[in-house]
Amino acid sequence: MTPEFETVIGLEVHAELSTASKIFCSCATGFGAEPNTQVCPVCMGLPGGMPVLNRAAVEKAVRAGLALGCEVQTYSAFDRKNYFYPDLPKGYQITQQERPLCLGGSLMIETAGGEKRIGIARIHIEEDAAKLVYGGGKVLVDYNRCGVPLAEIVTEPDIRGAEEAAAFLKKLRSVLRASGAAECRMSEGGMRCDVNISVRRRGEQFGERVELKNLSSFRSVARAIEYEAKRLIAAAERGEAAARETRRFDESTGRTFAMRRKESGGDYRYFPEPNLPPLVLTEEEIERIRASLPELPDARKRRYVSELGLAPFDAEQIASENAVADWFERAAALTPHRRRLAALTLTELFRLLPSDPESVPLPPERAARITDMAEAGEISAAVAKRLIERCFAEDVSPDEVVRAEGLGVIRDEEELERILREALREEPKLLTDYRRGKSAARGAMLGRVMRRTGGRADPQAASAALDRILNEE
């Protein structure tokens, strides 16, 4: 990025709150149901349909607010945001414009330059719109999503680039999941993001800001920001003023383009929602929710570093998923070798888990046992990996697998020498290459031993055996 310019970014993140029913009616919120089967007169905007606030959605949003260090408001209120769009059955969205539920929080992110605080301006709750499905020259509307509770989390303009934005979203997702506020299933649109971006010459005023709408993956957010920042800087360098506009990111081309004015809306003519009384919470209710919050990722991370001796990066990764962190703590209690357990968790276990793990099928005691065997040199790294895969997939003990399949490490240099000679007989070229001074051939020869032993060869013993062969002639 041109060092002369700075990119200033604020995010508006919409997270679906994890409630069983919608925010203003009792329809189910489950994802993937047949279109228009989770609807009623209220969320379909029939005449006389009236909103009734689902207190569970409030509780979830308060959890999010507390987890992000916000000031939860004892008095907040709902407004109508008026605009016409086919996905909006009432012609307005019920949201909180003037009096949001939460104000002023923050989130710490890890950046290349160390920890950074990103301010949270506000969190308010609102209803989701329906889903439009285009196809065959038709526009179809699925109202199942209409009325699903959303928390809109608005950051301060503290973010300075695509990388920070991605780090923030990742961390936010982990905090929302850990606090029990939201599942944030990306594939289901459980977390969506609008980006407000502007560029300025360092030390100067903010430029006009551009809004990038409805990005549904971390990758899209990062790509859209990178593209848009370049575009805005190029414009600024040409001396053009950026227009204040709303743009859409096209995933296939990786470019942004301006939306029609109609789509981006103008004045929303907000006014207080007359059908909903103000949302009043008592301090006791808020404290009760605070007391029920589980330990959050940052606290876990700090504890893993100080108590378990993990490296900060490893600790952050493990603490970011509640299910993994819970599992890790149980396994860590069974082995003194926490750093190796962490390494195995990050390199081997994470690969096997889905993106939103609810639980870890590998029993913690088996993970601890594999860790101990690896630490003691009884099995090689490759075998440790295989054992984790086996014990993850089926109900077998690592010791049994090692015994039944003869996976113990081979330290016997004579045996390794025999295996090496066999390999060199089949590929004499390796040896001639080595003699001609190709040093890479040595590594290739060790690789053959590993392959022939199924990764069980002790690297040091194999190296010594190879040296004996090479020194012979």
Partner: protein, 480 residues
């Protein structure tokens, strides 16, 4: 005995004693509807077969000794902005002319549980916008109490049906006088209950912070009886209050001795017609003769209620009517090339002039800087109106006022400029802005025999006091 001439209370007593069957009652009313409808047009939809079926079912249950609700077998009508499952609910609009709701409004359910028999859905101004019942897509209603005149509105169909004995009682909705003004014009009793006491669930909204459903009846006692059924908490309406309600009929006859009744000075003089002012003064005199105290008070802010009302009600209406876009239900414009055009054309073709005018007004007062200039200022006036009433009710039990500035006028005069028409709500809107209960009752007639009326306003939950005073006036007037 002519069944349709009986009050709902009297008919209900005869039904209970088995002297009249529910089917007889339904048939009598359906017969009257058939006779008078061609000219009156008080109904948009008559549900004759359903009514007979419902009546037969009530007769069967009574015969088998089952417990029945307080209105069992009493034939009634609902304004056509109150959703009824399986029965089209049009809001008198072209846009909803074929709309059949899949659910019933809370008040419709309450009446059904009470055993009331639904005769049909009554005419109204389109989407309850108007005071003449002439903006209906289905054609205007005539005033049965003043032939050739408008019945008032927007609940003009309900008022006319009750006045013409086409229904024992009817429900209307009142945003800024839409029950009281047609009740006054048709010579019947109409109550706008305290905001939050009657569920609005399932009633098409005009201005949510002002709308209340209420009864139109021929007598004060009927009004109290129906109010008993309508009031009560509905968890589906977040503005519905959790509250215990008394039996409103129990002390209607207690009299007004010792009651303190205020007359608001600003509701006399221009633009109030001579005969209207005379009715109010005569009612005040009658109250005094019955042992109440009356006193004139001044509350100048009430004259500002009208513009504030039109700003707030049109603002809310502009939002509430946004849902009628032809996408999910209602009349859909043909030949639209994309969803935007579909919505635009459906609304352009579906709404009448008055509805468009108010949506534009409401959109205007919320747009950009206008919001502060109009909407927020109106909200401040609203607060002042609330305060003015609080001040009055710290010293008085009731306010006695005109319901409308004039007696019913001829249908040809309906197209006066909108400002003049809006003025007809001037006495009705203060109670609406403050969410207070207010009742209009017939009181005398003008020289041409057209009904005159008075309005009684009470503090919140003061329906009992209203009924007591109204009942006393009604009885005294009947004795004259």
């Amino acid at each position: 005995m002519n069944i349709t001439d009986l009050s709902a209370a009297r008919l209900s007593a005869l039904l209970r004693r088995g002297e009249v069957s529910a089917l007889e009652a339904a048939d009598a009313y359906l017969c009257e509807i058939e006779r008078r409808e061609p000219r009156l047009r008080a109904f948009i939809t008559v549900t004759a077969e359903r009514a007979r079926e419902q009546a037969r079912e009530i007769d069967r249950r009574r015969a088998s000794g089952e417990a029945l609700g307080p209105l069992a077998g009493v034939p009634m009508a609902l304004k056509d902005n109150i959703c009824t499952e399986g029965i089209r609910t049009t809001c008198a609009s072209r846009l909803l002319r074929d709309f059949v709701p899949p659910f019933s409004a809370g008040v419709a359910e309450r009446l059904e549980r009470a055993g009331a028999v639904l005769l049909g859905k009554t005419n109204m101004d389109e989407f309850a916008m108007g005071s003449t019942t002439q903006t209906s897509f289905f054609g205007g209603t005539e005033n049965p109490a003043a032939p050739g005149c408008v019945p008032g509105g927007s609940s003009g169909g309900s008022a006319a049906a009750v006045a013409a004995h086409e229904a024992a009682f009817a429900l209307g909705s009142d945003t800024g006088g839409s029950i009281r003004q047609p009740a006054a014009f048709c010579g019947v009793v109409g109550l706008k209950p305290t905001y939050g006491t009657v569920t609005r669930y399932g009633a098409a909204e005009l201005a949510s912070s002002l709308d209340q459903i209420g009864p139109l009846t021929r007598t004060v006692l009927d009004c109290a009886m129906v109010t008993n059924v309508l009031t009560g908490h509905d968890p589906r309406d977040a503005t519905s209050l959790v509250r215990e309600y008394p039996d409103f009929t129990s002390d209607v006859s207690r009299g007004v001795k010792g009651m303190r009744i205020a007359l608001v000075r600003e509701f006399f003089g221009s633009p109030f017609a001579e005969e209207v002012q005379r009715s109010v003064r005569r009612a005040a005199e009658m109250f005094r003769s019955l042992g109440a105290e009356t006193e004139e008070v001044s509350a100048p802010i009430l004259t500002r209620a009208l513009p504030a009302y039109y700003i707030i009600s049109t603002a809310e209406a502009s939002g509430n009517l946004a849902r009628y876009d032809g996408v999910r239900y209602g009349r859909r414009a043909e030949n639209a090339s994309d969803p935007d055009e579909l919505m635009r054309l459906s609304r352009a073709e579906g709404f009448g002039t008055e509805v468009k005018r108010r949506i534009l007004l409401g959109t205007f007062v919320l747009d950009g800087e206008n919001r502060e200039r109009y909407f927020e200022k109106a909200m401040k006036v609203r607060t002042l109106v609330v305060r003015a009433f609080r001040e009055i009710f710290s010293r008085f039990d009731l306010v006695l006022a005109p319901t409308t500035p004039t007696v019913p006028y001829r249908i040809e005069e309906r197209d006066a400029d909108p400002e003049t028409r809006y003025l007809s709500d001037i006495c009705a809107v203060p109670a609406s802005l403050a969410g207070l209960p207010a009742l209009s009752m017939p009181f005398g007639r003008d020289g041409a025999g057209r009904p005159a009326a008075v309005q009684l306003i009470a503090p919140a939950f003061g329906e009992r006091e209203i009924f007591r005073a109204a009942y006393a006036l009604e009885r005294e007037e009947g004795d004259v």
